[in-house]
Amino acid sequence: MTETAPSKVAEQLEISCQACGSTLLLEPHLRTTVCPYCASPSVIERPPSPNRPAPSFVVGFVIGQERAAESVRNWISNTSLFARSDFKQAAPELTRGVYLPAYLYGAVADSEYSANIGEDYTETETYTTRDSKGNTVTRTRTVTKTEYRSLAGHHSTYIVDVVVTASAGVTNAALEAIEPFDLRALRRYSPAFLSGWIAEDPSRSKDDCFHLSHDESVEKVGRMLHDFMPGDSHRDLQFQTHLSREVIDLVLLPVWSFAIRYAEDQPPVQILVNGQTGRVGGKVPISAIKVTIAVVIGLAVVGGVVALFASQH
């Protein structure tokens, strides 16, 4: 049996339950199922392929379903003032707790950078002003000035613990919103971890995930370089990063996924909860009406102040 690549339309897989022998249909990209006849949880391992490597690690669930649901309710009630009212009142529906496939990426980043480094100095300058009697006088004061000097160089560092999504159902931004995961709790992958839970196989190509990892790594290097610059300040920081000696490993992360359907005419909003830390992330739909009202009030206040000011002069 040859396996389908994620790019092709993956098909359902027919398997037989190892406990009672019933035939089960397994959805594509799923790694686990529960037999509807005998309730036995099965873990299915397809042969590894370039886009579907064997998982190296798993982070176990710590947060249970009830705590996750409570976190989501708290999160909704604390969302922005401009969130749609029907969103704030909607009840979150649990879709599932899932082991989400993600890649753990590391590399050596060599960067070539250039920047203008600001070195401060003080100068005494004289200036003329009027004293209390209205006479013109000359005084001195010290002022801080900045001298910019160009600096170019190379920077090398290890990049570790970059986590990017390998599931087509979850964008990298959505995963970033519930990061970080505590990677000290990493366990070596064993199918026993998935038993009784839903687990996905990667549904993004490895190339795609490499791109996401590169982007995150370059962002990380940028932040490091900002802290690396000498001087009192700097500007025009530019850099080119070359990533080498890369490692990429598949890790399964615990995620609770909720859907909020707040209006008939809108698609449901996906809310994710970090199954290890309880951190909630999702995109809040903003109410256009509330924003408009706020803008109108703001303009009215400004207009009123201007009118008041104009009438006094």
Binding site: A185, A192, F193, V247
Partner: protein, 319 residues
């Protein structure tokens, strides 16, 4: 206990028992588990009662809901550190006592004149303190501000990259000794004399590592960064005054040993107050500690200085 099992095949740092990834570069340690080349469907069975098992949040592991047994899984281990060996005491109690008298007599004129004779030894205890000794290769990128070729500002920026090796560098892990005490007496120890058992002193306090391996590694890496910054400042940045020395270190072959090092810890009393001293257990010239100052002598000098200044002012004023 040296629990290194093999070297990371990316940065050649030894991996230890229970490491799932290399602590330096993040490379996965090799697994024992075979990857299935065929499609497999498994129902996880409890090894106790044969019922199907599932991952359980409460146990943080797969467990059986019928007989409550928990399955073993390979997790990252973070054991308490253990010493790898002891350096023997080569300075005995009498030598330590003499070293104390000698040190008290060598502190200079501002100390009380009777310090050497009137100090009464209250306690003299041997201590094995703990530290890490590491070797590493590294590639260090640095930036700094220096006074060299500065223009209007006092500072000019510099940057560079340099290969650096570290051999037998000692980092204190001790709680009993302060950082300053450890760095004062540490260089007196000969690391080649390491033994499996404590030797050379009786009734010694033996300090234990009280850090977990992951924290210890973080401390070592912090120490390496400080060392690298010091070396960059001393050897690589041009100029004579520096600030904002920043380093980014890419480590390779970080090999760490955990050792117990000998020291004599003394307490002496002078005119009712207790003072503390530490002497290296292998080198009696490596001594550090606190000692009283002579208030009378300081006042005398200060008085003379003020008098001299006053005379000078008077002379200037009268001329």
């Amino acid at each position: 206990m040296n629990s290194a099992i093999q070297n990371c095949n990316r940065c050649e740092t030894p991996l230890e028992q229970g490491d799932l990834r290399c602590s330096i570069c993040g490379q996965v340690s090799p697994a024992d588990r075979q990857v299935n080349e065929l499609l497999t469907i498994q129902v996880m069975r409890c090894q106790g009662c044969g019922a199907a098992t599932a991952y359980d949040i409460e146990h943080q592991a797969p467990s059986c809901s019928f007989c409550d047994s928990v399955m073993e899984v390979e997790t990252l281990e973070d054991p308490q550190e253990q010493t790898g060996g002891y350096l023997p005491f080569t300075i005995d109690q009498d030598e330590a006592r003499r070293a104390m008298r000698h040190w008290l007599g060598s502190l200079g004129w501002f100390r009380p004149s009777d310090l050497k004779t009137a100090a009464r030894l209250e306690q003299l205890k041997p201590l094995w303190w703990v530290g890490w000794v590491f070797d590493a290769e590294s590639f260090v990128s640095w930036t700094a501000d220096s006074n060299q070729s500065s223009r209007r500002s006092a500072w000019a920026p510099y940057a560079g990259q340099v290969d650096m090796t570290f051999d037998d560098m000692l980092v204190s892990a001790s709680r009993g000794l302060s950082g300053a005490e450890a760095s004062a007496i540490g260089p007196g120890c000969d690391l080649s004399t390491i033994r499996d058992e404590p030797e050379g002193a009786n009734n010694a306090s033996i300090e234990q590592f009280d850090l977990q391996r992951s924290q210890a590694r973080q401390q070592i890496i912090n120490a390496i960064q400080e060392l690298a910054a010091d070396r960059v400042e001393a050897q690589h940045v041009p100029g004579s005054r520096f600030r904002k020395v920043r380093v980014s270190v890419v480590l390779r072959k970080l090999i760490t040993r955990r050792v117990s090092l000998p020291a004599w810890v003394l307490a002496y009393r002078y005119k009712g107050s207790l003072y503390r001293m530490v002497i290296c257990g292998q080198d009696a010239t490596r001594v550090t500690g606190s000692a009283p100052y002579s208030i009378a002598r300081i006042v005398l000098v200060a008085g003379m200085a003020i008098a001299a200044a006053a005379m000078l002012i008077a002379a200037v004023a009268s001329s």
